[in-house]
């Protein structure tokens, strides 16, 4: 059994995609840019174009980092589910295969003003 219980017990997830009024959760984070204490939580419709996610909320959120001005989105390396991945900027989140609660990470080699080498 997947839970210690006196009889069969089924848990109901509290954050299934149906609960978000047609939107979904996407997590995004900039590797080695820990001025931002945790990955960002974004709530967006699955039809959102990937470009709109990047140039909209994501660009706005990373502005506080001193590397933000030098950030070139065309040269960024992406990871999805912690695996290397290439997005289609003009396709939607859904068409990019970005599911509910997926974690996107992006890397910018050489840009790390606030981060010491490990």
């Amino acid at each position: 059994m997947t839970v210690a219980a006196i009889r069969e017990y089924i848990g109901v997830p509290r954050d299934s995609v149906e609960n978000f009024g047609g939107k979904q959760i996407v997590y995004a984070s900039w590797d080695r840019h820990l001025l931002f204490a945790a990955p960002f939580l974004l709530c967006l419709p699955p039809e959102t174009r990937f470009r709109d996610l990047v140039e909209g909320p994501l660009t706005a959120l990373v502005q506080a980092d001193p590397d933000a001005a030098a950030l070139d989105w065309t040269k960024v390396e992406w990871l999805k589910d912690n695996q290397p991945w290439t997005p289609d900027f003009d396709a939607s989140l859904a068409d990019n295969g970005i599911g509910h609660k997926d974690q996107l990470r992006f890397r910018t080699a050489g840009l790390n003003s606030l981060s010491a080498a490990a």
Partner: protein, 506 residues
């Protein structure tokens, strides 16, 4: 003529026996299994409940006599504190952030522990066990109440104290402590005893009480110090009960060992995550600091915890699985967490602040290998943003861990520059974690943790639908009063003005 015979006074041992053990009887109308239905399903085998030794042999009459005396003293000091403007003796009102977190997150935990011990006192078949658990249940409800009374004086003068019950239920950072206790209370009776009686009361309690009670003493908070003294003798009893319980389980049957070890692994890690909040208080929130989190860990974690697990090794118990990862996190966690609290301070019912140059020098002396290398550059940049009139607020909200419910602020155990990303898929849904420790807890019992009520995703569901203003109202957070930077807050202004009246002729 009748002779008056002096009644023989009962000895302590005899009295205890009459008032406890002799209250137990074998059931005849119902089977023992029907009367105690929850004691078997966790797999713990007990052959002889009589072997349970209650180390204190406390009876109700002695309990009330002793506690009443303590509480008379406690309330006398609380009254004196209130009448003499005791709040102006604080080192600085920044100290109150630690108290606010305590009131919102930890005092409700005492109340939860009361409910849990009352329940397991009914669920265990052994009379000695029942009595010990019931006594502890009463201790815990007393602690919840006396803590609330001790801190209520501050509610007359300072923000952030007024709605701790709403905060407990609804705000994001309190869900860390709440989910810890909910997890324990929805476990079986034996796991509850390991979670609260052993892991929390025995392994972690010093790390919780030292910063708060010594912190209170160092910072002029007589009300909280008095509570600490009043609770201290109870805590000694709780620790002994927790240790007694684990030894009892291990002595009763060799099959119990792997189950108990699994719980120790789980509850050490869950407790360690709750202490993340405490590390931040010790290193950042106490204006006059007692010791660093690292120093506290070396004494109470490494030395005391190490001795305990050495003692338990004869039963086959090993140190908790997450022990090495914990050690690697010690020099980072308070900084990682305070940076988070500062950037999300628009959503906290307490204040945080940028550490001063002096504070940063103290931190770099206490954390010579990590502070200057990793954390000072971030604080300096944040200071620069604040000085430029564009203080750093991270409106991105945060990914939370499905298990401990903290924002996933922690880094890889061996790479402090990279966020630790862990995930599991269960029944087609994805779940995220802050660490291997939390992922392991989930993977063992996913059906339990898929139900976690995570405050950040909930904010985007009905009825809040992502409206930050509506959320603040719902959690009883008064924007501009309870939250934000300490610099410029009402708390700061009032404390300085009142203290000025008390100490100058202006």
């Amino acid at each position: 003529m009748d002779m008056k015979v002096a009644k023989k006074k009962l000895g302590l041992k005899e009295k205890y026996k009459l008032m406890t053990r002799d209250l137990g009887w074998d059931t005849t109308y119902q089977t023992k299994e029907d009367v105690f239905p929850y004691v078997g399903y966790e797999g713990i085998k007990i052959h002889d409940w009589e072997k349970w030794e209650d180390p204190f042999r406390l009876t109700m009459d002695a309990y009330w006599k002793y506690q009443a005396e303590k509480e008379r003293k406690f309330y006398a000091i609380i009254d004196a504190h209130a009448q003499n403007n005791g709040h102006l003796n604080l080192t600085d009102a920044r100290y109150l952030s630690a108290l606010k977190i305590f009131l919102q997150a930890i005092s409700p935990g005492e109340y939860a522990a009361h409910k849990g011990f009352a329940r397991v006192g009914r669920e265990f078949p052994g009379v000695g066990t029942q009595v010990a658990c019931q006594m502890q249940a009463i201790d815990e409800i007393r602690h919840a109440q006396t803590q609330i009374h001790a801190m209520s004086n501050y509610n007359r003068y300072y923000n952030g104290f007024h709605a701790f019950a709403d905060t407990r239920d609804r705000i994001w950072y309190t869900s860390v402590a709440r989910s810890f206790f909910d997890d324990a209370m929805s476990a079986g009776p034996f796991e509850f005893m390991i979670a609260i009686g052993f892991s929390f009361e025995y392994v972690l309690t010093n790390l919780l009480f030292v910063p708060f009670m010594s912190g209170a003493a160092y910072n002029g908070d007589m009300a909280t110090v008095t509570f600490g003294f009043s609770a201290q003798s109870d805590e000694a009893r709780h620790m002994t009960l927790g240790l007694e319980c684990i030894k009892f389980m291990l002595e009763q049957d060799p099959d119990n060992l792997p189950i108990v070890q699994n719980w120790i692994d789980k509850w050490f890690w869950r407790g360690f995550r709750v202490l993340g909040l405490v590390s931040t208080m010790m290193d950042y929130m106490l204006p006059k600091r007692v010791m660093s989190w690292r120093e506290a860990w070396d004494i109470y974690g490494v030395e005391n915890g190490g001795a305990l697990f050495k003692d338990l090794a004869r039963y086959g118990i090993k140190p908790p699985k997450g022990w090495d990862d914990a050690e690697k996190a010690i020099d980072h966690m308070s900084h990682q967490f305070m940076l988070g609290l500062y950037q999300w301070s628009f959503g906290t019912a307490f204040h945080s602040w940028i550490p001063s140059e002096d504070d940063m020098n103290w931190l770099s002396a206490k954390y010579p290998d990590t502070f200057d290398k990793y954390y000072r550059p971030r604080w300096k940049h944040i200071k620069k943003l604040a000085d430029a009139g564009t203080p750093f607020k991270n409106y991105g909200l945060a990914k939370l861990c499905q298990c401990c419910q903290l924002p996933t602020v922690f880094t890889e155990p061996d790479d402090p520059t990279l966020t630790c990303h862990r995930e599991s898929v269960y029944n087609g849904q994805k779940y995220h974690f802050c660490s291997d420790g939390c992922k392991n807890v989930f993977d063992n019992e996913p059906e339990k943790y898929v139900q976690a009520w995570l405050p950040m995703p909930q904010l985007f569901q009905e009825p809040i639908n992502g409206d930050l203003g509506a959320w603040m109202e719902w959690v009883s957070l008064r924007d501009g009063k309870d939250n934000g930077d300490y610099a410029g807050s009402e708390d700061q202004q009032n404390f300085e003005a009142w203290r000025g009246l008390a100490t100058t002729n202006q």
